[in-house]
């Protein structure tokens, strides 16, 4: 015969363990590669795919910039998605997303499948960033890999001897790894400024494992989706990595009309 208190304590302990297990499982980052799915079994193949260019946009404005200037001008196909859950966001593995949804999607250039583009407008928590890196880069077989990261952050994070109120925002600053030998499209970020979050995690990974990488950080005073902030990324189009992907010689006026309509549409949603 068991005493009621013992049974109660045991149950509580089991409940606690189950909760802990579920919590740890929930914070796992899952990557789904569509093209690697075996048609017959629906299971993953363990192969790594070759990658020569990896372009990563983090945040609404960088994602919108890539959508309008890069994804629009070439033939891309959806290649995969990241599924994660944390306090701030929950992503799904669908590819039919609205710009206002939280998502992390991969696209491949049809004419050159070694070019991979990632649009990530969801929050990746501190304890998930390392997992995200290991899983994404773990799938790549690096073939002269070059990484370009685009990200935005508030201008108030920028440290300068003058007041940030006097700065002409938005403006672009770059950080590059030791192995990135090209010139950057904008001035480098000065000390004592630092970058945190997923952009920092990717750049650290590239620095440690000697992958040429550059981060273009846009300092802006508008947090939400904003055409002026998107436009601030335009100098990046002249970089070696993106130049070849922007096929159409852009007629910016027409492009902006389309983009403005697109943004108005998604704001209405």
């Amino acid at each position: 015969p068991y005493c009621t208190t013992c049974v109660l304590i045991h149950c509580l302990f089991c409940l606690h363990l189950t909760y802990l297990f579920l919590f740890l499982y929930a914070r796992e980052v899952h990557i789904l590669w569509f093209s690697k799915l075996s048609a017959s079994t629906g299971s993953f193949t363990d192969e790594q795919f070759p990658c020569s260019k990896f372009i990563l946009a983090i945040g609404h404005n960088s994602v919108a910039f890539l959508s309008s200037f890069v994804l629009n001008s070439g033939c891309w196909e959806a290649a995969g998605s990241v599924k994660l859950w944390n306090e701030w966001c929950r992503t799904s593995n669908t590819t039919s997303v609205l710009p206002t949804d939280a998502f992390c999607l991969f696209y491949k250039l049809i004419s050159d499948p070694t070019v991979l583009l990632c649009q990530c407008n969801c929050y990746v928590a501190e304890d998930q960033q390392f997992q995200w890196l290991e899983k994404v880069f773990g799938c790549m077989r690096e073939e002269d890999l070059q990484v370009t990261i685009l990200s935005t952050c508030p201008v108030t994070d920028y440290k300068t001897p003058e007041s940030t109120l006097t700065l002409p925002s938005p403006f672009l600053k770059a950080l590059k790894t030791k192995d990135f030998k090209e010139t950057t499209c904008c001035p480098l970020l000065e000390q004592p400024n630092i970058v945190q979050g997923l952009p920092a995690a990717v750049l650290s990974y590239c620095q440690v494992w000697q992958i040429p990488a550059v981060l273009y950080q846009c300092y802006t005073d508008v947090i939400s989706l904003d055409t002026v902030t998107i436009e601030a990324f335009k100098p990046v189009l002249s970089s070696k990595n993106l130049k070849s992907l922007v096929k159409v010689k852009l007629n910016f006026k027409d492009k902006w009309k389309v983009l403005s309509l697109l943004i108005l549409e998604c704001l209405r949603v």
Partner: protein
Amino acid sequence: MFVPCGSSAPPDFEGFTLLLPAVSVGNVGQLAVDLVIFTLDMPKVGYFYTDCLVPMVGNNPYATAEENSTELSINAEVYSLPSKKLVVLQIRSPFVNNKYRSFCQTLLSWVKSSRCAKVILLSSSHAYQCDDQQLHGTPLRYLFSPAIQKTAGELMQRLNWKEMEKVAAYPGVNDTEMVLRIPGGGITTLLFSESCSNRIQMAVLLKFCSEGDNIPDALALVNYLNEWLQLVKSEQNSAAPATPSQWKIPHSWRLLFGSGLPPALF
């Protein structure tokens, strides 16, 4: 794990002293380590790549000229000076939640595999939590693991250093059971107890301080360390302790309290 810079062979740290900060109140340990690296002009030899620290990047915090100002720095980097048998691990970001224990284990296994002779942890503790006996005299304290006590214990007596006091585990109820408490010390207590049980030669040097301008605290702690290791000699008299002016302050310490103020305020 330790990853060497570039494609060079991993450096040999056998018999070296490993100096590292605890991410603690006022970041005193980290500031003190910055002073050591910059003053001794220590070259970077590798990275401590781990999932336990929040990612962070910036340009070279120890830049002296335009040429070396564009080298990328990450959250945990290793610097070495073979002439002084010194290796320094600088930590520049806080720990990810629930990763303290994992970091301690990774760090101690690296200490063992690299065969470092001893580890010195620079830390700090909340000044407002000092008890009556800790309020007396100097705000600097040390702690030695049993393994290092044999080799450096005598020196501490000669230097007249004060050991960190233990406090009652249950004050007012049971005053016989004494424990070590370092409030605001981050991983200090955990790393110290793990080192004691793993028979690693570890010394903790700490200062009681409060949040604010912690540059004077960092200078005091690094001078305290210098009394023992004699990293920097006084210019006038080699036996005298180093003065604050002998430590070089890196340029990245500018704007410690944020950007300038808008002129319209005045």
